[in-house]
Symmetry: C2
Subunit: 884 residues, 2 copies
Amino acid sequence: MAKHIYAFGGSSTEGDRTMRDTLGGKGANLAEMCRAGIPVPPGFTVATDVCNLYFEAGNKTPGHVEIEMAEHLAKLEKMTGKKFGDDSDPLLLSVRSGAKFSMPGMMDTILNLGLNDKSVVGLAKKSGNERFALDSYRRFIQMFSDVVLDVPKHDFEELLGEMKEKKGRALDTELTAEEWKEIIEAFKKLVTDRLGKSFPQDALTQLQMARDAVFRSWNTPRANHYRRMNDISHTIGTAVNVQMMVFGNLGETSATGVGFTRNPATGENEFYGEFLTNAQGEDVVAGIRTPRPISELKDELPEAYDELRKITHNLEQNYQDIQDFEFTIEDKVLYMLQTRSGKRTGPAAVRIAVEMVGEGLIDKKTAVMRVEPNQLDQMLHPVLDKESSGSLKLLTKALPASPGAAVGKIVFSADDAVAWKDKGEAVILVRAETTPDDIHGMEVAKGILTSRGGMTSHAAVVARGMGAPCVAGAEEIKVDYRGKQITVAGVTLKEGDWLSLDGSTGEVFGGQAKTVDPDTESGQLAEFMTWVDEFRTTGVRANAETPRDAAQARKFGAEGIGLARTEHMFFEGDRIKYVQQMILSKDVAKRQAALDKLLPEQRKDFYELFKVMDGYPVIIRTLDPPLHEFLPKREELMVEVAEGRAKGQDMTEKQKLLDRVEELHEFNPMLGHRGCRLGITFPEITKMQAQAIFEAAAQCAKEGIKVIPEVMIPLVGNVKELADQKKIVKDIADAVLKAAGVDVHYMIGTMIEVPRGALTADEVAKEADFFSFGTNDLTQTTYGFSRDDSGPFIKDYIAKGIFEEDPFQVLDQNGVGQLIKMAIEKGRKTNPKLEIGICGEHGGEPKSVKFCVNAGLNYVSCSPFRVPIARLAAAQAAIANSEK
Amino acid sequence: MAKHIYAFGGSSTEGDRTMRDTLGGKGANLAEMCRAGIPVPPGFTVATDVCNLYFEAGNKTPGHVEIEMAEHLAKLEKMTGKKFGDDSDPLLLSVRSGAKFSMPGMMDTILNLGLNDKSVVGLAKKSGNERFALDSYRRFIQMFSDVVLDVPKHDFEELLGEMKEKKGRALDTELTAEEWKEIIEAFKKLVTDRLGKSFPQDALTQLQMARDAVFRSWNTPRANHYRRMNDISHTIGTAVNVQMMVFGNLGETSATGVGFTRNPATGENEFYGEFLTNAQGEDVVAGIRTPRPISELKDELPEAYDELRKITHNLEQNYQDIQDFEFTIEDKVLYMLQTRSGKRTGPAAVRIAVEMVGEGLIDKKTAVMRVEPNQLDQMLHPVLDKESSGSLKLLTKALPASPGAAVGKIVFSADDAVAWKDKGEAVILVRAETTPDDIHGMEVAKGILTSRGGMTSHAAVVARGMGAPCVAGAEEIKVDYRGKQITVAGVTLKEGDWLSLDGSTGEVFGGQAKTVDPDTESGQLAEFMTWVDEFRTTGVRANAETPRDAAQARKFGAEGIGLARTEHMFFEGDRIKYVQQMILSKDVAKRQAALDKLLPEQRKDFYELFKVMDGYPVIIRTLDPPLHEFLPKREELMVEVAEGRAKGQDMTEKQKLLDRVEELHEFNPMLGHRGCRLGITFPEITKMQAQAIFEAAAQCAKEGIKVIPEVMIPLVGNVKELADQKKIVKDIADAVLKAAGVDVHYMIGTMIEVPRGALTADEVAKEADFFSFGTNDLTQTTYGFSRDDSGPFIKDYIAKGIFEEDPFQVLDQNGVGQLIKMAIEKGRKTNPKLEIGICGEHGGEPKSVKFCVNAGLNYVSCSPFRVPIARLAAAQAAIANSEK
């Protein structure tokens, strides 16, 4: 018969820290501490595989495990000299879950198990402290009923409150022993009323029920959801730790507490934690009594404190990581109840990693693996000052679309944003949704708030690109453009009222919060990132088109521009006028005249971009969006014309404009006349852009700037589309460079962003110098739903477990990833020199970056503020691969 | 050295009919006729591979071919007893192109080659007919200059016209020999003026230039386009046929003509053709003189006529197909110049095939291969009576979106269509575009005309489904709903004016044309289709949801319903009211109340459909389109509210409706909340539909109707979507059938219509009983453009050769086809019993059907009127496969 239960405690410890698979994290660490001679109350761990046996047997623990447990109980009784279920000196137990990975949503702890109506009397006698014994028993009834019997803790608390009121007691500690007895009877009656049977008095039955409840807690929806979100297998099961009770509530020489070996918020190397004297574990976190800083323990119980410091220091040395520990002091004797790696904030993670390398505790590679890539985000943006924000009114919490804090006055249009900004005001742009029309307003706003759209809506994507804080999809907010006000949570705010956003949490506050600038110039972060780059094998570029964003990207370590969206340049200043003129022209000559006006502007854009990226490649995408994005909105024009007519005004000119807008109207703009389709039907647009790019490149070359232009043709599904546009670009490039007498190496490639591009990548690669995966569009077309329109059902999909994650945030490796792998394989087969990257939003998402590294991409490209995250994720993937 | 030139004529003939690859169709047939002892003027064929040699050498015929040709010329001189280029009795030649497949756009014929200023005098003397000689020479100059020298024929005609006017001559025949000489000088001067060099006088140079011109004509844009359209390889090249001239213009005992062994329009077994006496080939088609019916040749030249009948009869027997032939009679002696399989109309193709089987000339398999599937279309719809239509005004020609003729009075809305129909009027529904809102009007209209949208626009798809004639995308027509009129080609037509459409040609006529009903009950067509089914191995179903369409489909041989679109049923009668109520309800209870109203209606729909399809499977798709398709249009509401407000009206209620419509508004409905996404977020809709389907099925089963329901879940991209909906359907199906006490076999499957469904087909197949490829949507998402929005650029794409065909009409085998093959392979791997079909528009397109048969689909499904076409295409694919 296989072994299913492992003892720990002194010399009879059977496990160690390597046995996390079998014992779970908690069990393995308890065994390890025992082996290290650390005082741990003895006990045993029911192994994780029993959890599977339990479910396989139809929610029943097999008989042979019950026998094995009985044997372990007997050994434990022998070791402690107490008997489980004994009336006079009962062995009491704690029962705790413990999976391989720490998991919220699972049963936590039951204390004082083994008490019943009789043994509580024995405990009182033995301890000489009746109130302690009664307090322990009522706590046990409460915890056991809540966790095992499904009678909510809250109901007991209510009952206790009523009793206290009836007796005129303010605090628990004021209750007499007689009153506690009365309360215990009431608690038991509550259980009997609810369940139709009485609270179990048999100690072994209590233990079996508690153990099985731990197993069941493995399968709650919340636990299942957490595992899905974190890629943890459902079949690894949880262990159950059964351990002798020690009591922090035996009087003023007893205490209980939790702590960290370093400050988990800042990473500072200081002993950190809280404790309470005369208390049991849950009191520290319950908030009824205020715990004291752990430094004060030194004055209360100096010997126990010194031992605790020594032990935890050794634990950190042993585990080479910050430890999160629990302890109890029973009448001056210290017991360790748990140790594990401590969760920490981003800044703390970096500081601890760097300092531990300095201390010689870990090497650089380990340090790089210790920081979650997404945690870096917290260090790159200003944050709301918690204290000042705390006093503000939380209006709603929506999607944390672009991190950072923003504080400003409400405006409702991009034009107003610019006007107010010019007057020196800080503004928050509030829109139902944003469009490319709003870019100029988004650029000057401190933050953006939308009432519609998801994490990849226009507002979210653009805001992240700019590094501007954004809260999106705040559906509870009613935006009234006409009245220039918003209504939410019963509050109405008008234009000019203060608003504060936390783009990292999605919180929206009324009023003016203070913000704190993060220390992005920190020596430790900078040092850490140099280590990251030592291990990284995949390039990281940025998606940026303005010199400001490009400079930011360089500062964050981008090794080039992976995507410069030329259309963003079309909205600046007077340009939109010429763009509209170009679109509204029905003949080539007039269109050309408008393009001639745009040429010098575009040339200037590219020149500045090349200058910032001196020595690094710059991928410029030719015009991509449908043309009507540059025109007034159709439905707004329709309304204007109808209103005007109703008022008897002459609407002839507006009607003409509307007619043209109607002609350009598309039912599904995302699936319409855009991408290379524009350049194919209007070759003069591609020509103008190529002219601008290569004239700028030639100018740079003459000035000694090292320029590496790469022209990217979007939305190619057929190699002939690429060939058509490539010829236009190449002819102009060669002519311009020859005329200028300079030699500039350039490339022409394509985005792979519709499935057909991937399916026929072998053909496309024959015409392409590079591929860049546009995974936003590729996700849209592979699934057949758009970023803008999928919000309403993707939420339902995730709630129902159909999706584990939003595929616009985390790359769908099974579907979209299959196309990416296919395109890489087919593309490299016909063109081994093909340079391959990714420029969709996924290029800055750690799991997706890992996929890209493993798929063999040359680089990933993402918005500037995600560049450090992508660098770290890429380095971690490279390390993981090197260790395979 | 390989042989490149093959002689024909009498005993020295080197080729035969099997050598089409080498000699082209014309050359092989000339050789074959010679072998059969048929009088053919002798000559030789320059083989097709010389065409490639010519291009490979940079537009130059290699020297060794020139030598070989000189040898053949010498042999030909010997055989004819004349010398090429001789002054006194010149050998004259015709030069004709001849590829393996007959191709428009290539050079046709040069006659009288070898004439020059001197030999024309010899020819005059020898023939004793100076006017004949001069006429032959001026024709030669004209033809040679036009085809070889690029001096357009038109310029010569103009010159000839001027000369005639100057001389006061009305007809060519009135010109004197002297005048012809003057004209010849003028012709030669024209060439010299244009080219800067004189007309070539050397006979061999003439021949070489003519031959090379034939090669060049292989590579004209028109020829290239034709090959692309017809899947003919660019590398097979054309042959050149060089042949001794015989003269039909030697006087009244000479003649020339063309004919068919049967009537190519009707298929009737009658000798059919036209001739002219004293004429050369091009006169018959040039329209200057009116050719006479071939039967009259019997009176003019009875012996030659009898021989012609005998020869052509034997040719038909020999080739076992209708022959299209050319002949010349030179002074009572008959010469055959060409024979080939004759092009024929659809009705003729069927009649000829059936009658030739009856005559024992061909077998059934050959008969089935002889009819182009698309040709059947002509036999299924009423057609415009050409004569009455000829007198009408052709307003425009647009897309032939749904075949057949329609004549009716113009109406501009679906409601008007119904109202007018109720008054007994025949109506044509004219819309800028149609939407599902218009279905009730489309159903009663004789035909549909839209000014926007392509071959797969809503109007086109629905019209084809109904078998209603439709002309779509008539962009020249300006539709003015407000004024209830259309303007096109300077004509304004108002509501109630007569309009006639030809949906087979795309022609739109003002006025009331007469129509002819085709003989669809024809015994020959019916017989032919039974043969088709003998060879067919793939099933054919129909896309239909009304009992009328289903009955039509059965009549056309459909073996089940491959797609019943339940949403079409939502627009009938009062239902739309409940549908809107369902959509506008914000809580489940109200939504359920509306669904309860719809349930009995849907049940009735399904009951009637099952009854018509007794014994055949019926695939019913659950609700698919985005919900706002059932609501009033957003922009129309916006305008209404704005107008009302401007006029000071109370718009509160309308504003509420608008608010809800706004909530449901999607940027890209095609990529939004539709398909199974609806059923997942509103499970009560799927429940209602399942209830209706299985209650109807149970009722049928009780009445002894054999019902085979298959429920299809649309737009699945992830197996969990299917699993979710399947469970809902299955639970209800089992409960309903159990309660009714009947046993009905049913299936639950899915559409594969987004790339991810195909990419993960192995997973999806585990939950699916069947797959049906929705190739309309799959094409949209694979390419990333929608049917409705791609019109403007797909035209450009085809014009530029980026696309060879509209992928919404002909399945894109390289891209979409790759996904289909992948899905079949993956799907059958995990579920070998998977039933696989196609229900996109491509299911009725012959090339696509062939692909489906080869890919191993169990059936194809298409609109009822395409069922016979699909049956034939499937049979031909099966035959082709069996002969591999």
